[in-house]
């Protein structure tokens, strides 16, 4: 049996970041990936945040396969055929130090894997880790599904993604529940770059994103998104699995629903679907975070439910948690103490970083939306109606119009209800 310092289970952003930082700290590191190569099994919306990635591979933008730097983020609230739009645009985001890029996970992760290999990480693809190896109570390695498949390690980092079989087997996490998992479906639609730049008002090479709320998920908890790539547009929807099952919708129904919206249709017009992807993502959130460590084991990324669904941030949390885990593992191995106690440093450092701080901040959000399912049904319509009334020029004095709007709002939602919703939202989000 061959021995390593660190075994990383899973070659996604979290696992590769963990392996890279462990190898950079001089650890003999291996990544075991179940796909053909790192990236093949990975799906995400397709936005890579610069800051977190820069910490993993400094100035990655000079080499990594990226699509477009994002200079504009729009938010659209859909209600029937109507939409309310808001957005922020900063052309400075087209230059260093950037804010975010659209990427194709398959290409980017492959590149990230090459960086890890350059740092000395060994990557073993097409291999499934079946279990942890124990000596007494201590984890001493992993057992893979291959012949002569045991590997020894001082620390195992579990980065297996949302399907947390190994973390469950190790007694660190609970099996997934439909209410804590979201499903994302995404299509990549090819369009000539000039058309993309025209439709999104972009200079050459620049990118934009749109988040779509309200009817984009037919009132179920979730969000739609549109990202511009070099010569294609990614469009997708993420929604919590449980309501989907309850309403007997398939993920594809969700996507078709979004694509049929007039505002969206126009953006995609004439494009041709190149790829269709679907994947589970952890809804995540502070209350979902499992036990993050034990003797000889650290849990990172999606497996650790490190997902800020409100800001759709997952990959940057994953990468930072991976980086910290790799560093903590290396430090523990160097000092010869990989006990549970030594591993708590990982959790402490996560708490000190934005990763757990952000999740803690939004800890009430999931529950708030779960308990107030009417929010996503009532408010898009209400807001849309209000804006429409405000903007429609028909000779009504503005003062009277404002009164009408308030009256309309109270018809749709009682005064007490409105106040309760606003207070709830304030507590959950601010």
């Amino acid at each position: 049996m061959e021995n390593f310092d660190v075994i990383v289970v899973g070659g996604g952003p979290a696992g590769l970041s963990a392996a890279l930082s462990a190898a950079q700290a001089g650890m003999k590191t291996v990544v075991i990936e179940r796909g053909d190569y790192p990236g093949t099994k990975n799906v995400m919306g397709g936005i890579l945040y610069t800051k977190a990635t820069d910490l993993i591979v400094p100035e990655f933008w000079k080499e990594a396969p990226l699509e477009r730097p994002i200079i504009e983020q729009r938010i659209a609230m859909l209600s029937g055929d109507e939409s309310i739009l808001a957005g922020y645009r900063d052309p400075a985001w087209a230059k260093e130090p950037y804010n975010a890029h659209s990427v194709f996970r398959v290409k980017f992760d492959r590149w990230l894997a090459q960086q890890a290999e350059k740092a000395g990480v060994m990557i073993i693809p097409e291999t499934i880790v079946e279990n942890l190896l124990y000596k007494g109570d201590n984890v001493v390695g992993v057992r893979t599904g291959r012949a002569e498949g045991d590997l020894g390690a001082k620390v195992v980092i579990i980065a297996e993604g949302v399907n947390n079989f190994l973390a469950v087997k190790a007694g660190l996490a609970k099996p997934l529940k439909p209410e804590s998992v979201a499903v994302t479906v995404k299509e990549v639609i090819a369009l000539p770059k000039e058309k993309i730049e025209d439709r999104f008002c972009l200079d050459e090479g620049q990118g934009a994103t749109i988040e779509l709320y309200g009817d984009s998920t037919a009132g179920m908890m979730g969000v739609g998104f549109i990202y511009t790539n070099k010569e294609s547009i990614s469009i997708g929807v993420g929604a919590i699995l449980q309501p989907l099952i309850r309403n007997n919708w398939t993920p594809n129904d969700l996507l078709e629903n979004l694509k049929s919206k007039p505002y969206v249709k126009r953006l995609l017009q004439g494009g041709e679907t190149k790829e269709y992807l679907s994947h589970l993502i952890p809804e995540g959130g502070y209350t979902q975070v499992p036990k993050l460590h034990r003797q000889g084991v650290l849990v990172v990324g999606d497996t650790a439910m490190l997902m800020n669904s409100l800001n759709r941030e997952g990959s940057n949390l994953a990468m930072i948690s991976g980086k910290i885990a790799g560093e903590v593992a290396a430090q523990a191995i160097k000092t010869g103490d990989v006990s549970d106690q030594a591993m708590t440093v990982y959790e402490t450092r996560l708490r000190d970083s934005f990763v757990l701080k952000d999740l803690h901040h939004y800890r009430h959000m999931g529950k708030f939306f779960e308990e107030n399912t009417h929010l996503l049904k009532v408010y898009p319509k209400l807001f849309s109606q209000a804006v429409k009334m405000y903007l429609t020029a028909d000779g009504t004095p503005k003062k009277q119009r404002q009164k009408e709007i308030i009256k309309m709002a109270f018809e749709k939602r009682s005064k007490g209800g409105l106040i309760k919703d606003i207070y709830g939202a304030w507590r959950a989000l601010l």
């Binding site: 060994m122 097409e126 002569e148 498949g149």
Partner: protein
């Protein structure tokens, strides 16, 4: 014994599509795989090595990215992998490709005599089945194509079962020989973890046009007598009559059968097997 396996990295043709509007090949996002027939050739070489001892050398021609296919091939338990990669090789047809591969095999042979060369019966992206025989002819080896079984391997001969349209031919050839293989020959292995690790750490050798005493006139586009003059989507067959069989399946079925008889497409034949009750 020394076994050489010729291997090609190919696009997974089950995922290649032609754009019906622009009439062009949609290659983007098509994954690359080891040509499946070649993989069975490799498997057989490894099995023979495990049985009689010796070593397995893999040779491939392709762009630098084909290294991935070679690394993957190494997981089977091969000993050496060589990638022939040079811009000068680009655009080679099967005649030129066979020239390049056979030149490389000759060079391998100088230091390490070869007993058997394996190749797939054809590559799934070209389906030409020409490169294997081309290599055999250039090397002066007997060629045994469409092998479905290696019956016997001795110090000097190999006996192979070949598949033909009318039956199976059992052929014995003197070594060294070249065998092209069908998928039926064996089942591919699931590599062991130590072999996976060996392959992950292995860096294939890359030979370019300067590594060999090549005649550059015989390679690339200039060395290829054939060239593509036109590419187009396969002609569609014009559609016939579509019937809705969802409402009354039995009646629709009966109508179709009736039409077949009326048009003499099926004729009442007293000798038809269906006559018996």
């Amino acid at each position: 014994m020394h076994f050489v396996v010729c291997l090609k990295q190919v696009p997974d043709t089950s995922e290649v599509r032609i754009d019906p509007i622009t009439n062009t090949l949609m290659r983007e996002g098509v994954p690359s795989i080891i040509n499946p027939y070649d993989a069975h050739g490799l498997e057989e070489a490894i099995r023979l090595k495990e049985k009689v001892g010796g070593k397995v050398t893999i040779v491939s021609m392709g762009p630098p990215q084909a290294k991935e296919a070679l690394k993957k091939a190494m997981t089977f338990g091969a000993d050496r992998a060589i990638l022939l990669s040079d811009r000068a090789f680009g655009g080679s047809d099967s005649l030129a490709t066979a020239y390049i591969l056979s030149s490389a095999i000759q060079k391998i042979q100088e230091t390490d005599p070869i007993d058997l060369v394996f190749a797939g019966k054809e590559a799934i992206d070209g389906d030409t089945a020409q490169t294997g025989p081309g290599i055999a002819q250039r090397l002066g080896f007997p060629q045994l194509t469409y092998a479905i079984k290696i019956q016997e391997l001795t110090e000097t001969t190999v006996t192979v079962e070949r598949k033909t349209e009318s039956g199976r031919q059992i052929v014995q050839a003197q070594l060294p020989a070249l065998i092209t293989v069908e998928k039926e020959l064996n089942d591919l292995r699931y590599a062991s973890l130590p072999n996976m690790m060996k392959a992950a750490a292995y860096e294939p050798e890359v030979w370019d046009v300067k590594s060999l005493s090549f005649d550059t006139k015989k390679m690339g586009l200039k060395g290829s007598p054939t060239s593509v003059s036109r590419i187009f989507a396969p002609p569609g067959r014009s559609g016939g009559e579509i019937m809705d069989g969802t409402k009354d399946p039995a009646a629709t079925a009966a109508t179709v059968v009736q039409k077949l008889f009326q048009q003499n497409i099926i004729m009442v034949n007293p000798l038809a097997k269906g006559g018996k009750s």
